[in-house]
């Protein structure tokens, strides 16, 4: 025989209400996102404040410039070369359809300098240096090394975060210039050597269409991405908790957040610059 509780829907409070749970989860996600954004904005202000105050830790800065910049040269050049090659290969097939192969050079150059170089370089730096920044800081946090710095009257923001964020801000544009160069070399190689285009036409057309502003726009984007990627990686690592699992979670959040930030900022910086 059915009990009263089984008969009456009001009398079954333990049953999960998937709609309410869904709304709660979305709400929690929105609150967390706003809270993280606020935390990052506060941290960015702290970093700015500490970056202009002595002591200037040039040794730490150079170590990070080396790690983020010099350490990423090979991977950025390789990615740039193959991106240029693929782009030249694909665009030459399209332009052949209406006999405009001479536009391959400018198309490769413009696309790389304005879009692909800053985005791909920032993604490479995110994967190689951002992940390392986040795990290193996260490990320092959970093993109390950050607390140790504070007890020794040293600002962890100034000692650990300022050099990392400055390195991202400075080195991503530099690496983007390398990507620009290697991408165009790759595009030139495919167009001229494999597709038999005239080297003179390729270079002349590229020179005609490519303005310094195009390169400059890419570099501004790169600086914004470099700052955002290093800030997000530092923020996640610096606020990691809960041992090895917490550091792993922070690194995943840093990677996903950085990649999303690159694509979202790419649109908005593009709109602002035009």
């Amino acid at each position: 025989m059915a009990t009263d509780a089984e008969k009456s829907p009001e009398a079954a409070p333990d049953e999960p209400n998937t709609f309410v749970e869904g709304v709660e989860n979305v709400g929690r996600g929105v609150i967390n996102s706003i809270s993280s954004f606020g935390g990052m904005a506060t941290l960015a202000w702290e970093i700015l404040r500490w970056s202009v105050r002595p002591p200037y830790r040039l040794q730490n800065l150079f170590a990070q410039l080396d790690f983020v910049g010099v350490g990423s040269i090979f991977i950025v050049c390789l990615t740039g070369t193959f991106t240029g090659m693929v782009f030249a290969q694909q665009s030459s097939r399209a332009f052949e359809l209406f006999g405009a192969e001479s536009l391959v050079g400018p198309t490769v150059a413009l696309t790389i300098t304005r879009e692909l170089a800053p985005v791909f370089t920032a993604l490479m730096v995110t994967m190689r240096a951002g992940s390392a920044m986040c795990t290193e800081l996260g490990t320092m946090r959970v093993t109390e090394q950050v607390d140790a710095l504070e007890t020794m009257a040293v600002s962890p923001v100034q000692y650990l975060l300022v050099p990392r964020v400055l390195a991202g801000l400075i080195m991503v544009p530099m690496l983007t210039m390398l990507f620009d160069t290697s991408g165009m070399v790759g595009g030139f190689f495919v167009s001229v050597t494999l597709k038999g285009m005239s080297a003179g036409t390729w270079l002349a057309r590229t020179q005609t269409w490519l303005d310094p502003e195009d390169i400059f726009e890419g570099l501004i984007k790169a600086a914004v991405f470099g700052f955002a990627v290093s800030l997000i990686s530092c923020y996640r690592g610096f606020n990691a908790s809960g041992g090895a699992k917490g550091v792993g979670k922070a690194t995943t959040e840093a990677m996903v957040g950085s990649a999303l930030a690159i694509f979202i900022l790419d649109y908005f910086v593009g709109v602002i610059l035009h």
Binding site: T143, Q145, D147, E150, T151, M152
Partner: protein, 247 residues
């Protein structure tokens, strides 16, 4: 002379979890106070308030008469230079050698020549009984050696107060004994005020001038070790019986 550290009506909660519920504690200069209590009783939270790593919800923390709760930035840094802290897992910088770890506070706060830094590092490592380990990395050291390097780093600036967070946790009996001696030596030779957070009853009774027993967010008993041993407070009796009951 007023106490070097005074904690007055200290409250701290994390979310709904009230960890400290009105702590009052005075620590006299040149003495060793052990804060004894079970795991999760809030001992480390209490210690972190003493050096300004945590801000209380209510209450005051006075260091040499100055309330450090409202302090921030430069002012708090100035107060922190009076402290050295030995962390539970030593918290040595794993990217630096032993020498660089111990020299770190000197490089940050003292304008000394490299030869003077080298001399001081050697001296402090000798005090904690370590030789020829300067070029090793923390990963190459045993737990006890790491704690000793942590102490050498904590005392390199000759602080007035040294905080020890669970200094004997996870150590074998011989190393535990060595660490206890090290705490006593630091007090005898350097004249520092020591605050030791511990749940190790044997160590606490060996090194303490006074013991404060923390239970459920309150200091339920405090006084010299003999007073604690005679305490009728149920939480203290239950805790101490786990050790003295076996003696």
């Amino acid at each position: 002379m007023p106490p070097i550290i005074q904690i007055q009506d200290l409250h701290k909660s994390f979310g709904d979890n009230a960890v400290l519920k009105g702590i009052n504690l005075d620590i006299e200069e040149g003495t060793t106070l052990v804060v004894l209590g079970g795991s999760g009783s809030g001992k480390t939270v209490l210690m972190k308030h003493m050096i300004g790593l945590l801000k209380p919800d209510r209450g005051r923390v006075l260091v040499e008469g100055q309330d450090i709760v409202p302090l921030d930035g430069e002012e708090l840094a100035r107060v922190r230079k009076k402290f050295g802290m030995v962390f539970q897992a030593a918290a040595l910088f794993d990217s630096m050698t032993v020498y660089e770890n111990v020299a770190f506070p000197l490089r940050e706060h003292a304008k000394l020549k490299e030869s003077e830094i080298r001399e001081k590092v050697k001296e402090k490592l000798a005090i904690v009984g370590l030789r020829n380990v300067e070029s090793k990395y923390p990963a190459d050291l045993s737990g006890g050696m790491r704690k000793r390097v942590g102490l050498a780093r904590a005392i390199i600036l000759d602080p007035k107060i040294v905080l020890y967070d669970e200094p004997t946790t996870g150590l074998d009996p011989i190393t535990t004994d060595y660490v206890d001696e090290m705490i006593l030596d630091a007090k005898r030779e350097l004249g520092v005020t020591s605050v030791v957070i511990s749940h190790d009853i044997a160590s606490a009774f060996k090194v303490a001038d006074r013991i404060a027993f923390l239970s459920q967010g309150h200091i339920v008993e405090q006084g010299p070790p003999e007073q604690l041993r005679r305490s009728e407070e149920p939480a203290v009796k239950a805790f101490l019986s786990t050790w003295f009951g076996k003696q």
